[in-house]
């Protein structure tokens, strides 16, 4: 493994938030060599969360999504090249082959290739009015069709589908949301929270249908979606939000280990000592969860991006974190910490069946392991601390609104 100096070059493949944060942290840590960031998209690293929120609604401009403006990247000597796809990694010569046939040498390589939206495996899904929602271009195409009264069918009741539904119904579109499973957010939360989001979307006017089995599309461009039970839903366009496929092909072809993502160790290193990886494309060992995990969150992209930069510079700092996530829908702020699923008890604070704010705490053997909070930022912040500490908390106190969260966070309270 070579030591880095001012003549060294760190190349980052993928200019998303993980790649962008790795580049920024290299500079914050005083790295004086070259930092080159190669991205397939045309834009410099940008924040994706607003794509299904303020950018879709028109409240945020494209430039406000950029993590750093191009002039600022130049100023700190982060060489960003957009429209540049890396097609092969030559590990022996430490060389990248680019789509235009040129090559780029590296001393250390960071793979931050993220993921792409999972396409719907159905004939007609490639029609000109069926969209996914992952990039600025995707949203620009959707926005061009957003007029009050237009009918949109959203396929998938995950975070992106639900956020999109909230924005589009507010814009005056007629929104139908189809979820194949019996409830929305089924993979990430408990029935109480799913039922809450189903209720608020229906109250806002979304025609939300769970257990909806897609049969096919009619027309080119698509003018109707058909379901297995014979239902026909007329529509002007379709938005598909059914998950992500990690971009692992480049790493795979280079012989790096892949298992639901590029496998990295706790220092965000691949099996090649000169190649690191960060963000949605990685599968890392989580001390907190006691297993390997691939996360799709900004927090993970940012923290692992920083970890990569610091470890490239020899800091040897393990990437250990408690996952957290947020989602904004209507006036509601969902914030989650930890990962539910392994819990043996849930405790409600507030009533998701009637109110617009509440918290769900997940306990395992009395220990707080996760929480979902809706418009309860204080509960979220203290839960974040308590989950990190693995605190054992009296469920009765957690459920009791008259006991301030703050008092539960004080040791030995």
């Amino acid at each position: 493994m070579s030591e880095l100096n001012v003549d060294s070059t760190v190349v980052i493949v993928g200019a998303g938030q993980a790649g962008g944060e790795a580049a920024a942290e290299l500079r914050r840590q005083g790295f004086a060599g070259r930092v080159i960031m190669l991205g397939e998209e045309t834009q410099p690293p940008y924040k994706r969360p607003p794509l299904s929120k303020a950018y879709l609604s028109g409240a945020a401009t494209q430039e406000s999504l950029y993590v750093m403006q191009p002039a600022q990247l130049d100023k700190v000597k982060i060489e960003f090249r957009g429209n540049t796809k890396v097609v092969r990694i030559d590990r022996k010569d430490k060389l990248l082959e680019l789509a235009d046939g040129s090559t780029q040498k590296y001393d250390k390589l960071v793979i931050a290739t993220g993921g792409r939206a999972r396409p719907l495996p159905l004939p007609g899904a490639d029609a000109s009015n069926v969209f996914v929602l992952r990039t600025i271009e995707d949203v620009q195409k959707i926005k061009a069709l957003c007029e009050p009264g237009k009918r949109v069918t959203i396929i998938g009741g995950g975070f992106i589908g639900l956020e999109g539904a909230a924005v589009l119904v507010k814009m005056g579109l007629k929104v139908t949301l189809l979820e194949g499973l019996p409830r929305v957010l089924a993979r990430v939360t408990v029935p109480e929270v799913s039922a809450f989001f189903e209720r608020v979307h229906r109250e806002a006017g979304v025609d939300l249908r769970t257990g909806a089995q897609l049969a096919g599309f009619e027309g080119t461009p698509v003018n109707a979606v058909t379901l297995a039970d014979g239902t026909r839903i007329e529509t002007d366009f379709v938005v598909v939000g059914i998950g992500l496929i990690p971009n692992t092909e480049l790493a795979d072809a280079a012989g790096l280990k892949i298992d639901n993502g590029i496998v990295v160790d706790q220092y965000a290193r691949t099996g090649d000592p000169d190649i690191y990886a960060a963000g949605d494309c990685t599968n890392h060992p989580s001390t907190f969860l006691g297993r390997n995990v691939r996360l799709e969150s900004v927090q993970n992209a940012m923290e692992q991006g920083r970890a990569v930069a610091r470890n490239i510079l020899g800091k040897n700092e393990p990437y250990q974190t408690v996952p957290w996530f947020w989602s904004d829908q209507y006036d509601l702020k969902l914030q989650t910490v930890g990962i539910s699923g392994a819990h043996d008890q849930i405790v409600l604070r507030g009533d998701p069946a009637t109110a617009r704010n509440f918290a769900v705490f997940y306990l395992k053997g009395g220990k707080l392991i996760a929480a979902d909070t809706v418009s309860r930022p204080q509960e979220f912040m203290f839960a974040k601390k308590l989950v990190a500490e693995g605190a054992v908390i009296d469920p009765a106190k957690l459920a009791d609104e008259s006991v301030p969260m703050k008092s539960l966070a004080t040791p030995a309270a």
């Binding site: 920024a24 924040k47 750093m68 900004v298 927090q299 947020w326 904004d328 702020k333 309860r376 930022p377």
Partner: protein, 106 residues
Amino acid sequence: MPKINFVLPDGSQQTIDAAVGQSIMEAATANLVKGIVADCGGGCSCATCHVYVDPEWVAKLTPADDVEQSMLEGAIDPNERSRLSCQLRMSDALDGIVVHVPAAQF
């Protein structure tokens, strides 16, 4: 261009130019100010953009709303001068504002 003076935990100062309308957090991250982590990118969802506003500037700012206030209470070592810098928009009236970066973000 209004200026922002960041006082870092080691006592050193970093002065940067901000654009009117830009948040203090955005100006900080664009200029690689250490200690302004800002993981959620201004969504008022993470509190890793926490700063202490210098006493003489506190009253010149729009007060924190409920969400910001609640997030701050759970930040590391909050006090009455604590703000989330993503919620503070720069204007000419704030030219020269002094903010202190905490030793740690959560």
